[in-house]
Symmetry: none
Subunit: 208 residues, 4 copies
DNA sequence: CATGAATGAGTATTCATTCAT
DNA sequence: AATGAATGAATACTCATTCAT
């Protein structure tokens, strides 16, 4: 079963299946997405589905892999830029890119992210979390004074997870109580105020 | 068909069904929970299930309602206490209660919360968000100097949503990168540093 | 799944399913018999099938059990009679009953026996073999002079297995080269000649 | 579509397919053997399979044909030898060769024989039965005194069919109640005793 | 009110067969 | 001739829902 594609045509079919999977999951959710739906949307037969994926689970896995890869591909090139920005600006830049990214293709990624959130909280978001952690590290390295900050791992954990969820929830909300702009500014303020305060508290007593 | 329970026995049966629903969802997840499972665990027949709930969806709705009511019932009595605490203490107090609450009955609430997260991000968490907003308001009212804080709605939104998700994710993670204690302290620091910094920035120019 | 019938109606349904299974297997063979066929013939829905049998295999098992029980029920009452007959007569009596039995219900049992033969040669025929072995033993006990016979286990094995197959093959053959009467007489002769010869060879040397 | 092989390469491919068919059927049984399996084992593509055989059934038919031909090829050269042996020796010689033959290639032939037994009792075993009948005839011709035997067709039918099945069942049984040696000796005794007794009963009254 | 037997549309998956390359 | 991708009907099995008792 599920053999590796050996021809160009095969590769295209695999892509069509993953694409269809995105569309179906975005439209109906994971639970209501059937192999027949995917096959129909992909414009192929059910049988062909199983030429390339040994079962439905594998299709979703491939989709999640693609999702994660796309997020990473979006973030990766930003790393050097972000690392050099003031922290508030860095946050807003990332958030701007996220808004754009999650809105693509009729919010396909946003809807899939929501599906992934409830189930395998860790597994699928893992690589993304790693890139974000990397961004944090790079940023600290470009701002040596921040090395003084305490609890960087905990604060990163909170900020990354909390931030992602706040964004996803906000973008999913048809009538959010605040604007995305306010959300972005709020997150930027939250982190930059925190840093500022930490710097203050941990400042060497050279004042007197 | 589904009628409102009007007798004691009915009420007890409805409770048994909701209880069974909690148990099944915590054990197998929403997708794998069948009406038969619920009926078996509740100790009644499938037929009786439909005497009280017109369909499966309604059972889950009732369960979520109960979940939300329980969270609110847990938080409500804390409001006056929290309102009077310094903000960092307030956060840690709430987090302590959440940890206990989500761990009850073999993490029943935690597991259900995860199920609810991906699907109906808004609908079910709504009332909880409202109580938390209320806590924020009460706190501000007991700390009038905080009225000076800008963007309270945005910051509350971020903190409440981000905080809830960070907690749920952390408690669901079998090997979290930080301890719950660190998470709680981090969230407390995050908010209190933010407030401190805001107070600083918005301080009236009494310096000269 | 597959719960035990608790009402009269249930018992009747279980019987209908086994009956339908016999009909389908006799008509199409095991491999071509589908759960839908069985359900249709039984006059019930597929769903009901699985109320009583956890899977297709279980239906076939029940059918085989019934088959074996029916053969045993046919043979059992004959045991005391057979045990007292001369061996040739005993064989012919059994063969007569087998012919009748296998021909019942449009050769239902014959066709099922053929299916069982290729697959689980041992498992399903086991109990039948045991009854036949018992008949042999009873016969010997009523004919003490036969205790002198050597190799009774081997000869029983050969005769029982060979005999059953010869019968099944013959009855399944639309144009057999010999008549059933000849087959029966042949088997009777085969065994009685063997016994006679053995008695001769093992006779105490009273000749001189 | 299916054409007769007309070239060497074709012949080799056909052989490879039949060989693969044997391997698959012996390993998984007829029901679980798929065209893909056969093609894989044969080292060709499914498409090529249909170049040589119009459908799966034809492959199995060819396999059975080959099986029968192999049995016949095994028996044929023995005929002149067997015809000259005393009947008991003849039987044991044949049984010895059968044991060896059915055990070849990890019991390939034995397993296929079992598959064939339940389904097409007549069709495939026919030619084999004919050779065995021929052996009987040749034997009688070399032992003219046996012409006196009555019911030769019936007895041959019984002995051949019963014997084959007894052998197949015995060799398929992981823990048979008697040894193959005992089985062979038993069959030899059965027939030679029968013959001896018949000779006795039909002896011309030369006593006086 | 309670029961649990019955339903049947729906689901994932398989596999013999075809056909464009 | 050979390939292997594509097909889609068919299969075993599930489960929310109904209804006769």
């Amino acid at each position: 079963m599920a053999r590796k594609p050996q021809q160009q045509r095969s590769k295209a079919t695999v892509d069509a299946i993953i694409e269809a999977s995105f569309i179906c999951v975005a439209r109906d959710g994971t639970a209501a997405t059937t192999t027949r739906h995917i096959a129909d949307v992909a414009g192929i037969s059910v049988g062909s589905l199983y030429e390339y994926f040994s079962n439905k689970e594998m299709i979703f896995d491939a989709m999640n892999e693609r999702f994660v890869a796309d997020v990473v591909a979006m973030l990766q090139p930003l790393v050097p830029v972000i690392a050099r920005l003031p922290i508030g600006e860095a946050v807003k830049l990332i958030l701007g890119h996220f808004e754009d990214f999650l809105g693509r293709n009729d919010q396909r990624y946003l809807k899939c992210a929501r599906q992934a959130m409830g189930v395998d909280i860790k597994d699928h978001l893992g690589p993304i979390t790693r890139v974000l952690m990397d961004i944090v590290m790079q940023h600290v390295m470009h701002h040596p004074e921040h090395m003084r900050l305490r609890h960087i791992p905990a604060m990163s954990y909170i900020f990354i997870n909390g931030g992602i969820f706040a964004i996803v929830r906000h973008l999913s909300d048809p009538s959010p109580p605040i604007s995305y702009e306010e959300l972005a500014q709020g997150l930027a303020d939250m982190i930059s105020h925190y840093v500022a305060q930490e710097m203050l508290l941990t400042a060497p007593a050279t004042q007197d």
